[in-house]
Amino acid sequence: MLKKILILFLLAGVGLIFFDLFQSYQSASELTTTAKYYADNGAKEVGAANLVSAIVVTYRGLDTLGEVSILFVTAAIISFVLKHKPEEEDKNRVIKPASEILNTATVFLTPVMIMVGIYIFINGHLTPGGGFQGGAVIASAVLLIFLANPKFHLNHSIIAFVESISGVAFVVVGALGLIMAGGFLDNRILGLGEFGTLFSAGALPIIYIFIGLKVGAELSNIVGILAQEQNIKN
């Protein structure tokens, strides 16, 4: 009882702070100095129509490298914690087959979903989206496969291959910027091209393709490990 009262008390306190925040909030009428710099020069310097992509991949590309590493470490920890020997797997486990609708939808939708994911990360510098979003769409296609067939075996060697190759390529493209352009992850190692076309923004789309492949592989791996957990004998 005392605990409940304390929780309510704390929530009321936090709510009071939020109310104060809400009352003093007023949407800005002009950009801050940093944002103004990006708005004025982002398109000229990076050549990307999507300024968020320009910031994520070029201006703050090092943060993105760290972010991708965090995802990698997460996937590694999950596969370490949920490690099982193959003989622990319950071969006799009977699974009710998925419904006709789910099976047909999986056959139809999986290629389309993977294609949409690839489209999203290839066009990350022009439209909303990018490597992380495209990778998440690809992983949702893998999740759909697991929903239809829980005993599906994901080929871990292909996933590890794609993941490590794209991770290395990301760093190599970044290091090329150190030699051929202004600094690490500078996208001007290739021509900036015509603004707003697919082949523009220098190396930015290339980096985003590698990020997309890496994130897609990592999230698929996480989904696969979590899905295989139910095949283990208890």
Partner: protein, 117 residues
């Protein structure tokens, strides 16, 4: 409009906080953490809002000396990072929930007293 979104974000944070402290089922606690996360992301994006600003995606190269009428792109880039980290944290917590369930065959937070004294 931005006030409605700000209220939604703050309310989601409060709901998440309530869930983290009050709910007994550990699966639901993970979902409460995800709610908390979403609320913070919404508030961050709202803070970067500019009155009458467009999405930070340009349709043509801005002419010299003019600033395009866009919202602040920096919070959006930060929220992109934050969403990915939140996803990683959720996945990790779900893994630990699976392990804890394997150990005690229970999802009630009160049955895990090993670190309590």
């Amino acid at each position: 409009m931005e006030y409605i979104i700000l209220i939604t974000g703050l309310a989601l944070i409060l709901m998440g906080l309530y869930g983290i402290m009050y709910i007994k089922n550990i699966f639901r606690i993970v979902i409460a953490f995800a709610l908390f996360d979403t609320g913070i992301n919404i508030v961050m994006v709202t803070i970067g809002y500019l009155r009458n600003g467009m999405a930070p995606i340009l349709d043509k190269m801005p002419t010299e000396g003019t600033t395009p009428a866009i919202v602040d792109p920096v919070p959006q880039a930060l929220v992109l990072t934050s969403i990915v980290i939140g996803l990683g944290v959720s996945a990790l917590m779900l893994t630990y929930v699976l392990k804890l369930y394997e150990d005690k065959k229970s999802l009630d937070i009160n049955s895990f007293k090993d670190l309590k004294w």
